[in-house]
Symmetry: C2
Subunit: 226 residues, 2 copies
């Protein structure tokens, strides 16, 4: 896939949504979609959808629209789903174990190659074909395998130290589930965060805002009643 220009983060964040919706359409037997259709389904303008795709090439056909399957595959390729990225997981606690057990890495083009923990009670257990190794084996493993991404699911107080260890040993990308800011100014490591609490707090803001608006509305009505 040729990437001509620097594509904005906003566009990148929409690509997985496109992929999801196209998969859904495909599963429903739809073979053709226009930017107008797709926009209506995702709450985006047709213009925006065409602009987004045009960052990566010309995937449509005038008068027809886009072939669902072909467009889906283009986007999958842009996202690197066909590159066979290899991941390891560090910290098989509750969330780490839930990911190993439930999250289908291979659906998204990733292979979970190994998992590591420090707890002897967990080391040696196997989930979904992946056996948990001791952290003592981590460096050897990293030097023997080409790993693209580390999934970081260690406790918050270990996050910074483990992230440093990973960076120092050639890991270029971290999928960060710890509630800790890992993005370092002088580091080139790619960090993608899943911050549960940030997400919940944002939700809280919108709930609070709505309640305030409802209260203001009720107050206006009450004044009018007087």
């Amino acid at each position: 896939m040729v990437k001509r220009i620097k594509v904005s983060n906003n566009v990148i964040r929409r690509l997985p949504r496109y992929l999801r919706k196209l998969d859904e359409l495909k599963a429903g037997g739809v073979s053709r979609v226009s930017s107008k259709n797709l926009g209506a389904l995702l709450g985006l303008t047709p213009s925006q959808i065409r602009q987004d795709f045009s960052c990566f090439g010309e995937f449509g056909q005038q008068g027809y629209g886009y072939n669902v399957g072909a467009l889906r595959d283009e986007i999958a390729s842009i996202l690197g789903m066909d590159r066979g990225f290899k991941a390891i997981l560090i910290g098989v606690g509750n969330i780490g174990h839930a990911l190993m057990d439930n999250f289908c890495f291979s659906d998204w083009g990733f292979t979970l190659s190994a998992a590591f923990d420090i707890d002897p009670a967990i080391i040696g257990t196997t989930t979904n074909g992946v056996t948990v190794r001791s952290m003592d084996e981590l460096l050897d493993f990293l030097h023997e395998h080409e790993i693209d991404v580390a999934v970081l699911t260690v406790p918050a107080d270990a996050a910074v130290a483990v992230a440093k260890l990973l960076r120092d040993n050639g890991i270029g990308a971290i999928w960060n589930f710890t509630n800790v800011e890992l993005t370092e100014p002088n580091s080139s490591t790619i960090v993608e965060n899943i911050h549960f609490s940030d997400s919940l707090l944002s939700l809280g803001y919108y709930v609070a805002e709505r309640y305030d608006e409802e209260a203001a509305h009720a107050a206006r009505l009450a004044r009018r009643e007087q």
Copy 2:
């Protein structure tokens, strides 16, 4: 908290990061911070930080900066952390259970009031003081309690139906962990998504982009060698 203007989503998403960093500074005994300091810590410009805060009021002091504790409390209040929001959780599978077990709702101003599932083997079990109830009890529970947020951790194929049930019974906000698009055009329900796969795919994009850049760089060097 007075909210004069419509605050952009970008600003809202930064508020939890401010909160997190301010908590960290406070824990480290720092009592004062300027927009310049805070910007350097978070990779934002001082201007942006001052603009963001000015959406909600005047929390600083010329020549001094901001009081860490006071600013932290203002932001917490803006996010509704002092409102005692009540949440229920639907679907005590792997991720649902991990949240009940590990995620400290009360740290963020929420109370997890109940959990529901359809599996008789899970119903009746208790995690962190919350006993799992049968889905049959859900509607009665909703009508007896004022619930602000539903945490949706059911399997993907149940997501849309359960979301509809929740909406129809007065739930105004959903924290959505299912990999399903719930944002409906004609609905006023607030939906906040945690899409693991979207996040991983975005990471994949950046990894792929970096590899492409490195390959292009190597190719340029190779040409020069000739």
